[in-house]
Each structure stands twice: as C-alpha cells, then as structure tokens.
C-alpha cells in the first residue's frame, strides 16, 4: 500500500513552517559591546536574523558566543550600540532613530535559564503575573491560569510554591508563564539545561506542541546540538558574536560550510590535506592517502583543506568493500555502547607514522572486536571537504 495523504497535512505544515511575509522578529546588524577587563568585549558584531510567525529558530554555539546577549537585546534587557530590532513589525530598537522600548512594552516573553520563578508566589500566581500586569480581570486570570496549568500538566499544583516542585515541574511553570500572555515572540534561554535527560525530552516535545497550539515565533538558545536539531525549524550557528551559518538542521548537518559548524553539529572525524578539484568533487592528498569528497563551500586548488565525516557516514566492514577510494584498513581501539548503535573508535595507519583516529557508528551486533583489523569506508558523496581555518 502506498502512502496516503490526509487533510491535516497542510495545516500541520503551515503551523510549523515559515510564512515569509509575517516576520515577527527582525534584527539587522545588531552590535553590542560590554566593558571588559582590558577594553571592550564585542559580544555581537552586527548580527541579523529574521524569524517568521510559527517558526522556532535555534541559536546554537559555544559558551560566550553571544547567544544570550542577542536574546536579551531582543527582549530589551540590554541596549545594543548599533543596528535595529523590530518585533511584530514595530521598531523596538533603532540606533539611527534613537528608539528604545523597555522590555515591558515589547510583545515578547522569555523563559530564563534559571527559570526565574518568583519564590514568594505560588505556581498559579507566577503563571498569572503577566496577565495581572496587563490588567486582565481577576476571574479571567484564574480561568486562563487553570487552562495553562492543565496544558503543561500541572493542573493540581497551583497552590504550591516553586521550591516544592521538581526541576521539570519548575521548568514547565516557567514555560506556562512565558506563554500565557500570548506574546508574539517567545525567547528561550537554554531552558532545558537543568533537567534530567528523560524530562528534557518530554518538555522539548511539549514546547513543540505548545508552539503548534499558540503559533508564536520562538527563539531558542542551546549549546546541545541534538536538542537544537530536534526542535529547530531554522538553525542559527553562532561563533564569536557572528552568525556562522543559517539553515534547516539537516542542511547544516549534511552540508556545513566550515569545520566550526561541522563540529558543532555533532561528532566528526577530520583528515587534512591539499585540495585538487575533480568534476565538482575535491580530492585531498592526506596522510592516509587520497580522500575524495564534496565541497560545501569554495575550495581553491592547492590550498590546505579538511575532509570531514560523521560517525554514521563511515562504515567499518570485515571485507574490502571494493570501492576504489576512501577505503582504509583500520584497527578498532574502543567500542562504546550508545543505545541504538555502538560507537567505535578506529585507528587508521598513516604514511607519516602518527596514527589518525576516526569515530564511526556501527550497528549493534556487527561483531566488531577491540584490537582487531577491519576496513573503514566513507562514500565520497557523504564526505564533506571544508576549508581549513578555525575549528
């Protein structure tokens, strides 16, 4: 039987994908500096992003790259030095026009990394606060709060204080509080870094479900690439106050434009060498011989370049696979159990003598044993060739 299209198809897609005309957050060329120990630290070096309604943009990057600063600038908690920010079409900050709206006058909510639940208020009071600030009638607040608590499965916890809740429950209160006021834009600053892996998965799904229901534009900060991939409709990888690459998670995973983005999207193995173009592919002369892969950004012949592949793009096999390139004899150094698969670290012999290590995913039950010899094969269509440069 073939796949059957159902009617809900289009609606569901609408909800989670970008509607190009309805941009909810637009930041152009935002610059923000902080006074540091020795002179100024530029946290944002002219960052531009656009997030349409219903989209979830994820900011991914290492500690200190400026993720939080961008979020806080959009929320109005920091005042940038340059650029322009608009929320729902209204300019909330502009360095040229000297506009700066304080946070309470922007239609933006935020979930803080530390939850920032008010310890002196009950769960219901915490969640109802944004409505109270907007002068909603008491009875209506009570009703909306109850709905919201039900939506995050906290229906019976209204009278508890935050310190009487588990981490995951606190997290959900913070979510409910951010969502209840029906802001056009909700910002999430590493909301899941404090909760159990188990709870994390559950809340992550809940955020996706809530977005489908309330249709806000979201910006989500994390430095966990798995979480980023799972939640993003648009992934923004940042590096030192600049945007390194923007796109769908799959694009960035499969076709990173730099070693930096590649390594940030998951485990990689790298071999470096000198590049030569052949038919839209690139050949690298490396310590493990000739490596052939696809270029994902401009590579100049004769330059140093790096071949990059992910664990599951490589295959460790008992017999020589017969391909005429990207096949290396290897020894299994270490096998770790990773649940669905095994992660295998293999050592490739090199011409120079210093061995190269590669990390490869192997299916369970493939019978690999530590210390034994196999072949590693990486199809050239999978292997990316990237310019050398910062990792």
């Amino acid at each position: 039987m073939g796949a059957t299209a159902v009617t809900s198809d289009i609606t569901a897609d609408m909800a989670r994908n970008a509607d190009g005309d309805d941009v909810k957050v637009r930041a152009s060329n935002v610059i923000k500096t902080y006074p540091g120990k020795d002179g100024l630290v530029t946290a944002l070096k002219g960052v531009s992003v656009e997030i349409p309604q219903g989209e979830m943009a994820v900011l991914l990057g290492p500690s200190g790259c400026g993720k939080t600063t961008l979020l806080r600038s959009i929320a109005g908690l920091e005042r940038p030095e340059g650029g322009e920010i608009s929320v729902s079409g209204r300019t909330v900050y502009s360095s040229d026009h000297k506009v700066y709206l304080p946070p309470e006058r922007r239609a933006v909510s935020m979930v803080f990394q530390s939850y920032a639940l008010w310890p002196h208020m009950t769960v219901a009071q915490n969640i109802g606060y944004p409505l109270a600030c907007r002068k909603v009638a008491k009875a209506q607040i009570a009703e909306r709060v109850q709905q919201m608590m039900d939506a995050v499965h906290l229906g019976k916890y209204g009278h508890r204080y935050p310190n009487q809740l588990s981490g995951g429950q606190q997290q959900r209160v913070a979510l409910a509080r951010a969502i209840i006021a029906d802001a056009d834009v909700i910002l999430f600053d590493e909301p899941l870094s404090n909760v159990d892996a188990r709870v994390r998965e559950e809340i992550r799904k809940q955020i996706i479900a809530l977005q489908a229901e309330f249709n806000f534009a979201g910006i989500y900060v994390t430095h966990d690439q798995v979480e980023a991939g799972a939640i993003a409709t648009k992934l923004i990888v940042m590096n030192h106050g600049e945007i390194a690459q923007v796109g769908r998670p799959q694009e960035l995973y499969d076709n990173p434009v730099s070693r930096y983005v590649a390594s940030f999207m998951g485990t990689t193995t790298e071999v470096s060498g000198t590049a030569t173009s052949i038919d839209g592919m690139v050949a690298l002369d490396t310590a493990v011989g000739r490596v052939i892969g696809k270029p994902t950004s401009a590579i100049v012949d004769g330059d140093r370049a790096v071949g990059v592949f992910r664990p599951e793009w490589g295959h460790v096999v008992h017999e020589h696979p017969g391909a005429d390139h990207n096949v290396w004899p290897c020894v299994v150094k270490l096998k770790s159990f990773m649940g669905a698969h095994m992660e295998v670290v293999v050592e490739l012999r090199t011409s120079s003598g210093a061995p190269v290590e590669a990390t490869v995913a192997a299916p369970r039950g493939s019978g690999l044993r530590e210390g034994q010899c196999y072949y590693l094969h990486v199809p050239s269509a999978d292997l990316c060739v990237l310019p050398e440069g910062e990792q």
């Binding site: 908690l77 946070p103 803080f112 530390s114 920032a116 204080y161 310190n163 981490g167 997290q171 006021a181």
Partner: protein
C-alpha cells in the same frame, strides 16, 4: 618531624579530638558569656539567700520609667525604619541600578564604620550647634536669615534618629546588598519581560524576595539601637530624651547607684531581644524558599533608571555627605583651641595633637586600644568562625547561636559591671589587667563577629572541604589549607568591624580600664570631663587616621594571602 611530634599532630588532627576541641571552646565561650551575667543576676535577685523580684517592682515604679519606655520605643523604631530604608535603598541602588558608582561601591559601607561614633557626634555638634555651628552659620548667610541661631537644631528626636541611622545604615547595606548579589537578577528581568514596569517590579518582586534580608538587617539595627548609648547620651540629653541604655547607664554610674533597677531593666531588654532573635531565626527558616534551579546568567544586569538615575545618585551623594561632612568639621575643630574659636588660619594649630601625643597616658591609650582591639578582633573572629563552622557542619546551631548572640542584648554598662563582679576578684584576679578588657571586648562584640562569620561560612562550599577529606587530608590540615583560606576575606571584613568597635569602645573601657592599661575610650571620657574637649576631637581624629592605616596594612597582608581565593 620526629615521631613524637608526628603523633601529637596526628592526635590534634584527628576527627575525634577536633570534635572535642570544639566542644571545649563552646564551653569556654559559654562560660565567658553566661557566667558574669549569672553572677550579676545572683547578686541582684538573690537577697539573703532568697530569690526576690523586688528589683522589677522598683523598676516599674522608677521615676520616668514609662516615658523612658516611650522614648526607647520611638528611638528604636525610628532608627530601624530610617536606617533600614537608607541602607536598603543604597544597597538596591548600588547593586541593581545604573546609579551604581563603581568607585565607591567597595568603601561605601565601610566609611561610616571607620568614623567613630563619638567623632560623628562631635562632628554633628560642630556643624549644627544652634549659634556657632558651621552649617547653621552658612545656612543663615545663604538664606539671609536675621536670627543669630538656627535654623537647624539637632537637639530633637528626628536629628537623633537621623544621626544614629547614618551610623547604622551600613549594617542594612551590607546585609541587603549581599542578598541582592546572591539573588538572581533574572527574577526581576522576568518581571519586566512579562509586562511589569520598573516600579511594579520593585514592589512585587525585588522587595518580597529581599524580605528575609530586610527583616534580619532590621533586627540587627534594632539590637544595635537598643544598646546604643553614645548617641542618645550626647544628642538626646539636651532634648530631654532618655532611652533604656542611658537609663541603665545612669542607674550604674550615678551615685547613689540604682544598680538593681538597672540590672532589672537589662534583664528585661535581654529577654525582649532574645525573643526577637528567635523570631527572626524562625522567620528566616520559614522563608528560606529560594529557588536556585540552575545556571545563573552571568550578566550582572543593572537596571537603567533614566532621569531617575540622578535623583538616586543625589541620594548616594547626600548619604556620603552626611558621613564625611561631620568628619571634616571634626578635623577643623581639632585644629582650633576651643570649639567656639573663629575658623581662621591664625587660630589653626596642631597644639591639641601635640598635647595629646606628649601626654604619656594618651599615647599609651592609643597603643593599648589598637593592640587590644586587634587582639580582641582576632580572637572574636576565631571563636565565631570555629563555632559557626562547627554548627553548620553538625547542623545543630541553636545552642551556639544563642550563646553567641546573648551579648547583643546586654547593655555594655551592665556587661562591664558583670565582668567586674565575676572576674575582678579571686580566683581570676583580672582586675585592671589587659586580659579583662580584651575578654570584655570579645564578649561584647561576639554578635557582630558572629554575623560576619556566618556570612563568611555560608559562602564556604561544603564540597571543597569534602574534596580535601577524600584527598586524605586530616581535619587539621583541611582547616588550615582549605577552610581558612576560603574564609579569610569574609573573616577579615568581620575583623575590621570588631577592631573598630574595640578601638572606639567607651562604656566598657570606662569601667574596666585599669590605671596601667588606659584605653582611648576611657581617656577620651576623662578628657571630656576635665573640659579638654579639643583634645577629645584630636584624639578622635588620631584614632580615625591610625585605624585607617592599620586596616590598610592589614588589608594588604590579607589580600596578599587571599590574592588567589577568588
């Protein structure tokens, strides 16, 4: 190391003996604090071997008892409100808003502690005495007033409360700013992004989350103002204000003495203050529901205040003026032959300093006060740190807290009298010795030492200590190499406070200082009573400057030792 010494060190360092040492210390401190009090109570309430409460009856019937109660209530409540507001507001402005002035953030709370109470009072008297006060003369000239006195008088309740509050505000500042620093600024930011204005955020979030800190600083100030003596004596007397501490002082120092009445009042105060302390501990425990779920944002977000910024800065400047101006006036006065002398270069001279420094007794007093103050501060901090650390480790702190905070409720006059009763004669025979003064200082300032030590110990990370144990370090080594360096900066802050309190102490010193052990407070009072007021001002300035030098030197040493404990 020889095997014998190794053995001894191991013995000392073992857990069991560490335990025993702490218990021993607690007993010793308990004895030091409670024995004099019990001896004194015994003397007052046991008449011919029979217990009698007649002293209370006498107290309630004493002249001016009810108006004294009223004055005390007004004074304490007023001071608590004004000082807490002042200190709390300064703390909020400096920790949470862009009105913060980085240059003075560190010294703001310390300066008023450096200025001795007696110096501050003289400074204010010099500024605001009705006819010859510099500030009053200036104001009359500025406002072209025709009168020869006024316009500002400090012989009234508002002025008494204000001056006391200026001096006590740092307590509130330190407690509240520490709590603000520990509180997550995201709590306030969350309120802003959820649509609350700056002021709504202040009322609905900042205030309630600092409630515990505000309450405990209010209590601290209440305890201090119940015991405050110098302010109500000098400023309150002309205004016909008698607070409990002055009442007790009169009971003790006037002749014929009304000791029993004074002691009865001291007992009453002790009971009230202890109830307040217990209530506060309770409240602090119940309200201990801070949620620090996760990683704090690194940003130390300072709220922009817009135009209000300058209003708030104005207040900070006003406060600084309220502390520094009297100091300037004091210094000016110390250069003049007598207080009413015209301010002119012809009249300025260092004669007062010369006579103070050429007088063997006052020289000796300066040296004594500094050494006694330093020693008492070291010992008090040591005792407080060890006991409070032990209390946190054993999680059984009530007894220790009580012992350490009892002296807060005993007026210094009563404490000094109790010390004479208990330790002057056999078997201790400490009368007139430096030891007696130092012991009395330690006892009197244990509460302040404990408050600082508690703050320092609460910063200590338990895992850092445990990491030392699992590295096979003995408790002694752990105390020396891990705990002490961690505590040092916090304990130093406490040391500075206790040191100043000791150097500037008057009430105890007057009763306990022996002929061979003169101290600044006692000599100053002697000067004052022999009409040598300019010498008192010179002495106050000298003490202030010398204290600054001592603290700066000590700070250098400590910061070198602690340079790395960031």
């Amino acid at each position: 190391m020889s095997s014998a010494t190794t053995l001894i060190v191991e013995r000392l360092g073992s857990r069991r003996s560490a335990h025993r040492w702490v218990t021993l210390l607690l007993i010793a401190v308990g004895f030091l604090v409670l024995y004099p009090v019990v001896r004194m109570l015994w003397r007052s309430f046991v008449v011919d071997g029979a217990f009698s409460l007649s002293a209370f009856g006498q107290l309630f019937e004493a002249r001016g008892f009810s108006s004294m109660l009223a004055d005390t209530a007004i004074y304490v409540i007023g001071t608590v409100i004004v000082a807490t507001l002042m200190g709390g507001f300064l703390a909020w402005a400096m920790e949470r808003t862009d009105a913060r002035i980085n240059a003075i953030a560190g010294v703001l709370p310390v300066i008023p502690i450096l200025v001795p109470a007696i110096g501050l009072i003289f400074g204010y008297l010099v500024l605001f005495s009705p006819e010859s006060g510099y500030a009053n003369i200036l104001l009359r000239w500025l406002l072209s007033l025709e009168t020869t006195s006024g316009p500002i008088s400090i012989a009234n309740f508002p002025a008494l409360i204000f001056v006391t509050a200026v001096s006590f505000a740092p307590m509130a500042y330190m407690i509240v700013s520490a709590s603000l620093r520990n509180a997550d600024p995201a709590l306030e930011e969350a309120s802003r992004v959820n649509g609350a204005s700056r002021w709504r955020t202040f009322w609905r979030v900042t205030l309630p989350t600092s409630r515990t800190a505000i309450l405990s600083s209010a209590l601290m100030i209440a305890i201090l103002s119940v015991g405050a003596f110098t302010f109500p004596l000098f400023i309150g007397t002309p205004a016909n204000i008698t607070t409990a501490s002055v009442f007790v002082y009169r009971g003790f120092s006037s002749w014929p003495p009304q000791q029993d009445v004074a002691i009865a009042l001291a007992v009453l105060l002790t009971i009230v203050v202890q109830i307040a302390v217990l209530a506060q501990l309770r409240a602090a425990r119940a309200a201990n529901r801070a949620v620090i779920a996760g990683k704090r944002s690194s940003a130390s977000a300072l709220q922009p205040l817009g135009p209000w910024r300058w209003v708030v800065r104005g207040f900070i400047a006003f406060y600084m003026t309220a502390v520094l101006l009297p100091l300037l006036a004091l210094i000016t006065a110390s250069l003049l032959p007598y207080r009413g002398a015209t301010v002119s270069f012809d009249n300025f001279s260092l004669d007062n300093y010369r006579s103070v420094l050429s007088d063997a007794t006052s020289r000796e007093a300066l040296i004594n006060s500094f050494s006694f103050g330093a020693i008492a501060a070291v010992l008090a901090m040591l005792i407080a740190a060890v006991l409070i650390y032990a209390a946190t480790v054993r999680q059984r702190s009530r007894g220790i807290d009580l012992v350490l905070y009892v002296p807060a409720a005993i007026p210094n006059t009563a404490l000094a009298a109790a010390f004479i009763v208990a330790f002057a004669g056999p078997p201790f025979n400490l009368y007139g010795t430096a030891a007696l003064l130092i012991l009395a200082y330690i006892t009197a300032f244990l509460p302040q030492a404990s408050a600082s030590a508690t703050a320092a110990v609460s910063q200590l990370n338990k895992e850092l200590v445990e990491a030392s144990y699992v590295s096979a370090a003995s408790p002694l080594r752990t105390a020396r190499r891990i705990i002490a360096p961690q505590l040092l900066p916090g304990l130093f802050a406490g040391w500075v406070i206790v040191f100043f309190l000791g150097v500037n102490e008057v009430t105890i010193s007057v009763l306990l200082a022996g002929l061979d052990t003169p101290v600044v407070g006692q000599v100053a009072v002697e000067f004052f009573e022999s009409g040598r007021v300019p010498h008192v001002t010179a002495m106050a300035v000298l003490t202030f400057i010398a204290s600054l030098v001592v603290v700066a030197l000590a700070y250098k040493t400590v910061s070198r030792a602690a340079a790395t404990s960031r």
